[in-house]
């Protein structure tokens, strides 16, 4: 049996009296793409934070290729090939776009090799024209692309995307879809997204979170037509 890229067993997170995530058993293979959906407060972002070591779970374990990383520091998990693009772009605001990508690249490459990798990534995420601008002065959408570039520059095996299409124009959303498909050729992805059109364009399999637990896990079309999912989450969107 092949070892999954990432796996959680009985994962739970309690904040005081609130059980934000409960008993999540989740498995993702190499180069697999999964979407996470669920209403606000369903525990998706908390789940991401536990996968990346930003929060220590109060119960259960997280395994990366079979290695227990439940108590590992975020930088150790990152070095095992897990990258995350957060919901609010987390970038180096005081540095230029090029310096942002360089910092991400420099952990893997040295000297001229790093410079080349930065220029290639600038092209790939379409930021070459604004490479010398300070990131803090860019528009929200552009900062999203900077963060995507930063995450991809570390060459992770698993990319976590927390609402990648939020705040993007229709055209940018289409570009993001293309990029996600492109990334998925070589890497696994978990994407949290509310935009169902976006999900239909990228995903085949969807995991539904509700009240901190996994409600359902199935193909996107099955999920879209499930009366249970409709009830907890899609109802208002499908009607709209």
């Amino acid at each position: 049996m092949t070892v999954p890229l990432i796996e959680t067993r009985g994962l739970g997170m309690r904040f005081g009296g609130v059980q934000a995530v409960r008993d999540v058993n989740f498995t993702l293979g190499e180069r697999e793409l999964r979407c996470l959906i669920g209403p606000n407060g369903a525990g998706k972002s908390t789940f991401f934070k536990m996968l990346t070591g930003q929060l220590k779970p109060t119960s259960g374990v997280v395994l990366v290729r079979g290695v227990d990383v439940t108590d590992a520091e975020p930088h150790e998990i990152a070095r095992r090939g897990v990258g995350i693009k957060t919901q609010v772009p987390s970038v180096f605001d005081g540095l230029t776009v090029r310096e942002n990508l360089w910092l991400a690249t420099a952990r893997m490459h040295r000297g001229a090799q790093a410079q080349r990798a930065v220029e290639t990534m600038l092209e790939r995420v379409g930021l070459s024209a604004i490479a010398s601008r300070v990131v803090g002065q860019l528009a929200h959408g552009q900062r999203q692309w900077v963060e995507l570039g930063v995450v991809l520059s570390t060459n992770p095996d698993l990319v976590l995307l927390d609402e990648p299409a939020a705040g993007m124009t229709d055209q940018e959303v289409l570009r993001t879809v293309e990029l996600v498909r492109d990334i998925n050729k070589t890497k696994a992805l978990i994407v949290v997204e509310h935009d169902m059109q976006f999900i239909r364009m990228i995903a085949s399999k969807v995991t539904v979170f509700n009240q901190g637990a996994v409600l359902m896990e199935d193909d996107v079309e099955v999920i879209m037509h499930s009366p249970i999912v409709r009830d907890v989450y899609l109802g208002k969107k499908a009607a709209a």
């Binding site: 990258g83 987390s90 005081g94 540095l95 910092l103 040295r110």
Partner: protein, 346 residues
């Protein structure tokens, strides 16, 4: 003109000014002026140590005078015991660095937040002040060096050429050594900041969570930065103990700690040349104000001679009106006028 050319031009300018100061000052001024300028140079090395830790590493340290004082005391005690300055000089760098490494380990790996970091470093400084201050009795000695409590340690033998005990460095020699140290520290830190390590600590200052999610361990980088800064401050302390042949606990005092922070705020965080200018400018101003107010002065003369009051006013004015400090503000004007902004350091 692009950023790289400006950078090279800036470096060349600093080198020319530095070499000019080094060779022209002894020819232009008397020994007493030279002595004053020597202490400015030593304090500027101290200012650079905080410029690195706070300005680039983002670690607000109120305890830079602790490392400075430790360097001075280490040199004094080791020198009185050993009598040849090679080992005391090295110890004056290593002991503060080791102390900072130990303190930093508990602070950074213990996940102490920024504000508490400031509180802890300040407290450590005051503990050192009080401890050394209360060692006046003859029972407090390390080898043949009496600690002297609030009286300090007088008559510290001066540095000699490494391994040549009889070739002592005189007052003019101290000027050359201090100025050359400042120039080398400046260029050394520029090289450090241009390296992978330097660029990473700036990234961590900007967003340590993001750096962590990219696989960097901010704790290790902060600890290294803190330790390097303490080593530099210790070296400055060693030079200072040489300059006056004397060291006392006031070196650990609140006034000294606060001054270093004011130099960096006035000159500008995130630059190296700013804290040097802030340090020299404020020390010059302090000396000038003090000289203009002889004891017994009244009215405006007394007010202008009240150095802490004037320094406090300068600090408040800068925090409110020029929060980025002199050099970044002037640099900002230039880039608004001539080129798009970049994140390059100056």
């Amino acid at each position: 003109m692009n950023a790289r050319a400006l950078n090279v031009l800036g470096l060349a300018l600093v080198a020319v000014v530095g070499i000019a100061v080094l060779f022209l000052t002894p020819r232009l001024f008397d020994l007493d002026v030279l002595l004053n300028i020597t202490v400015y140079m030593i304090m500027a090395v101290l200012a650079l140590s905080l410029a690195l830790i706070w300005g680039f590493g983002g670690i607000l340290c109120f305890g830079q005078s602790a490392f400075f004082g430790l360097g001075a005391y280490t040199y004094a005690i080791a020198m009185i015991n050993i009598g040849e300055s090679t080992a005391p000089l090295i110890l004056a760098i290593i002991i503060p660095a080791a102390f900072a490494a130990l303190l930093g380990y508990f602070m950074f790996y213990g996940r102490i937040s920024d504000v508490y970091l400031g509180v802890i470093t300040l407290t450590v400084t005051l503990i050192l002040f009080n401890s050394i201050n209360s060692t006046a009795g003859p029972e407090f000695h390390i080898g043949s060096a009496k600690l002297g409590g609030f009286n300090g340690i007088p008559g510290i033998p001066s540095l000699n050429v490494p391994f040549f005990k009889d070739w002592q460095i005189d007052l003019e020699g101290m000027f050359y050594l201090s100025t050359a140290s400042l120039i080398l520290t400046y260029f050394g830190l520029r090289a450090l900041l241009a390296s992978r390590f330097g660029r990473t600590i700036v990234g961590i200052r900007e967003n340590d969570r993001r750096a962590q999610l990219l696989g960097y361990d901010p704790r290790a980088y902060k600890l290294a930065t803190f330790t390097i800064g303490a080593a530099l401050a210790g070296y400055a302390g060693c030079l200072f103990a040489n300059w006056g042949s004397f060291v006392s606990p006031t070196i650990f005092g609140l006034a000294q700690s606060a001054q270093i922070i004011i130099w960096v705020i006035v000159g500008g965080r995130g630059t190296l040349i700013g804290p040097i200018l802030g340090c020299v400018g404020i020390q010059w101003l302090t000396a000038a104000l003090g000289a203009n107010a002889p004891s017994g002065a009244a009215g405006w003369q007394a007010l202008l001679g009240n150095v802490p009051l004037i320094l406090g006013a300068i600090l408040i004015a800068f925090v409110l009106l020029v929060p980025k400090g002199l050099v970044p503000t002037i640099g900002g004007l230039e880039s608004v006028l001539f080129r798009p902004r970049t994140g390059a350091s100056r």
